[in-house]
């Protein structure tokens, strides 16, 4: 089991739009870098747009960030692309037997822990911004040039 790559593709899209801000980031251009098909990109772009992270217009080529990259966290992306529903990262077995002490209490008992775990994960994502990733990528690239 794994969280859909829509999330990491979403990050990829936003970072590339920022680094290509002087160019035109069409769905085909983005798809080339991600190495997938433009339909998937457009689908994800639609989600990012709906969440207010990018601006796109039908018929006009190219997407732009709707906010400064410093104000877009990975958590924003995570929620935008809807990979994990609220409090449903962990699935709980349905209909445990109510005649059993454990069966009738287990869900209420573990749900808070599971929610806390999920929140801890989300908090980490909330502390990293698109700007951080952009900077890191530029930095990594500098190192590569030095080496070569």
């Amino acid at each position: 089991m794994s969280i859909s790559s829509r999330f990491t593709v979403g990050i990829h899209i936003l970072v590339l739009i920022e680094l290509n801000k002087k160019g035109i980031s069409s769905s085909e251009f983005l798809a080339g870098s991600v190495n997938t098909n433009p339909t998937l990109i457009r689908k994800i772009m639609g989600m990012l747009k709906k969440a207010g992270l990018i601006e796109v217009q039908p018929g006009i080529a190219g997407a732009k960030l709707a906010k400064e990259p410093f104000f877009i966290t990975l958590l924003d992306v995570y929620k935008a692309v809807d990979v994990v529903k609220e409090k449903e990262l962990f699935s709980v077995h349905e209909n445990p037997h109510p005649d059993c002490l454990v069966g009738r209490n287990i869900q209420d008992s573990i749900t808070p822990v599971l929610s806390a775990a999920q929140l801890a994960l989300e908090k980490v994502l909330g502390n990293v911004t698109i700007k951080d990733i952009v900077k890191d990528i530029v930095e990594k690239e500098k190192c590569k040039i030095k080496i070569n």
Copy 2:
């Protein structure tokens, strides 16, 4: 997308074995409380056994905890039932384009964040034990009796 219920069922199994320690916890008995079929229970029991959390013997009815419940964390269960592979909670899109600045750096750039997020989640699970859940369930039941 959701993490397999094997995890929460695993917790259910361990808690029930503990609370039924004076009785015999056969796979059929456990299946009754979880409200699923005994095969799934045995499959999960096999994983818990392999991880050294319970003791079961072929042909002999009933499972016992292999450790005191205080020494079994939810993280132990989580790892035992193998719901999420190491560092693979998030899936990353394969083969981004190496000719693109973003494409050739994005994976190395976001992997540490994703790992940190996953570790934060696991840390929360590591801080809760089966004993905690057992105590909580007993407590909840007391309240219910008071109310009724």
